[in-house]
Amino acid sequence: MENLDIDKILDRFENSSICELEITYKDFQIKCKKNTTISQEITKEIVKTKKEEITTSEIKDEKIKTITSPIVGTFYRAPAPDANVYVEPNQEIKKGQPICIIEAMKMMNELESEFNCKIIEVLANSGQLVEYGQPLFKVELI
């Protein structure tokens, strides 16, 4: 046991794959430990992030809804060119309240809200062709 050189032991430990080392000799004791498994930690972090995302979107799903077009047609925000728009962002609306018109086959189809909500964003432009399932409004349930 003549090679009890601390520097040497630490070098040795550093370059080895050993992650924990403890040497006790008489009144001398050395304990060392490496911060192992970086890759594992990263993996964990990714998993965590994913979970968080899911949680967030779950929370969102509960409150934030997208109202999509049930038919193909031209989207109008107002009942007539010179009339006021049905809804504005930040406006609170009631279930059954008309929110826009979709013109199809020369028929004006008034689209009504299916729930009480607040308009967050209008996602289509007035006069624009909208297809089936196209997002029209982003709303928050109230």
């Binding site: 038919i71 193909v72 031209t74 086959m105 297809e131 089936y132 399932g133």
Partner: protein
Amino acid sequence: MIKKVLIANRGEIAIRVIRALKSMGIKSVAVYSHADKDGLWLKIADEAICIGPATVSESYLNITNIISAALYSHCDAIHPGVGFLSESAEFVKAVEESGLIFIGPNKDTINLLGNKVEARILAKKAGLDVTPGSFKEIESVSELKTLANKLGYPIILKASLGGGGKGMRVITNDADLEKNFNLAKEEANKFFANPAIHVEKFLTHPRHIEIQLLSDGENVIFLGERDCSVQKNHQKLIEESPSNIVSQKMRNKLKRASIKLFKLLKYQGAGTIEFLLEDNNCYFMEVNARVQVEHPVSEFVSSIDIIKEMILISDNNSSQNMRENPILRNHSMEVRINALSCGTITKFTPPLGPSVRVDTHIYSGYKVSPFYDSMLAKIIVYTKNRQESIKTMLSCLSELELEGIKTNKEVIIKILNNNKFVSGNFDTSLYKEIEKDL
């Protein structure tokens, strides 16, 4: 002049029409259901519009959404493809009323041909043989009995406004007459909103023959016959042109009378007359007032692009090709590769090279959904004669790689190798006969 066309269909036929439009310099608008958002036809078209959820009745049969999509994307015309709304007089009417061109026959033609008794009367007038049977609605059981005894059993009751096998009943003896008479009327009423039925002699071992025509309302051209006798539950699996069972004499007769029928109809567009051939008699069945899945075999033997001619005819701009009957050359055969399970296609390598054409909407990574038709691809070959077509098709199928789902490829290969099929001496019961060996 037609500058932009909406294709009211999906899958390979939508791609077929879009390709024709592109090579004519006409813009195309594809439509799709929510389930079809990865459809290849969306990528190839100039524009694509979602017209509804997966359910056919709310998307590909949704007349309002389809016409809205056409109007708002500034189309001049709609091509209906095959199936779906292609023979809907209601759809044609809606298209015409919205100021768009329907690429196909007009609504009066479709209405008239939808009535099978009217069609029989007109076919007879044109000089076609029709199956022995009634030329008007059967009013009573006693009337039916008189006819049945005159025709001899088996007979078949058909809904006069029917089609596609629905509301048909085969009767083999007097005892079953009354029950079937009532049931057939009920079914006709249920499926076609009209209880009218008529009776025809039932053919037990026919060949399924059809005549492909193109007509611009004045000029009618004959693109030969197709033999579609290899069928599984009335679903065509293999089609070919010419048919080995149609003599030149019979072909000439069918040609003359078929052209006459289409002239009587002032027919506009592509159309097919279906016949059943038994004991050297070819009996008129009905007119399919649209292009058909198996049109490529006629395109090969005639060197005429049926889809392009349809578009030109609807644009009142019918081409030089309509002036005289094309020379029919060589032999063409089509097989339909169908999915037998749903799932993702993990590998798809089509056969390539001379004398083969592949019409398909699938690709490596495509998901086959349960909502729509199971047909994955049509493989069509064009060679000197029937025997060479069979060999060429087998060679193509050996090159075809289609993995990830179950298909009928092996069944098709077995049919192509079947002695009866190869001999040409078979009828529509072939599939059933050899089913246990497939």
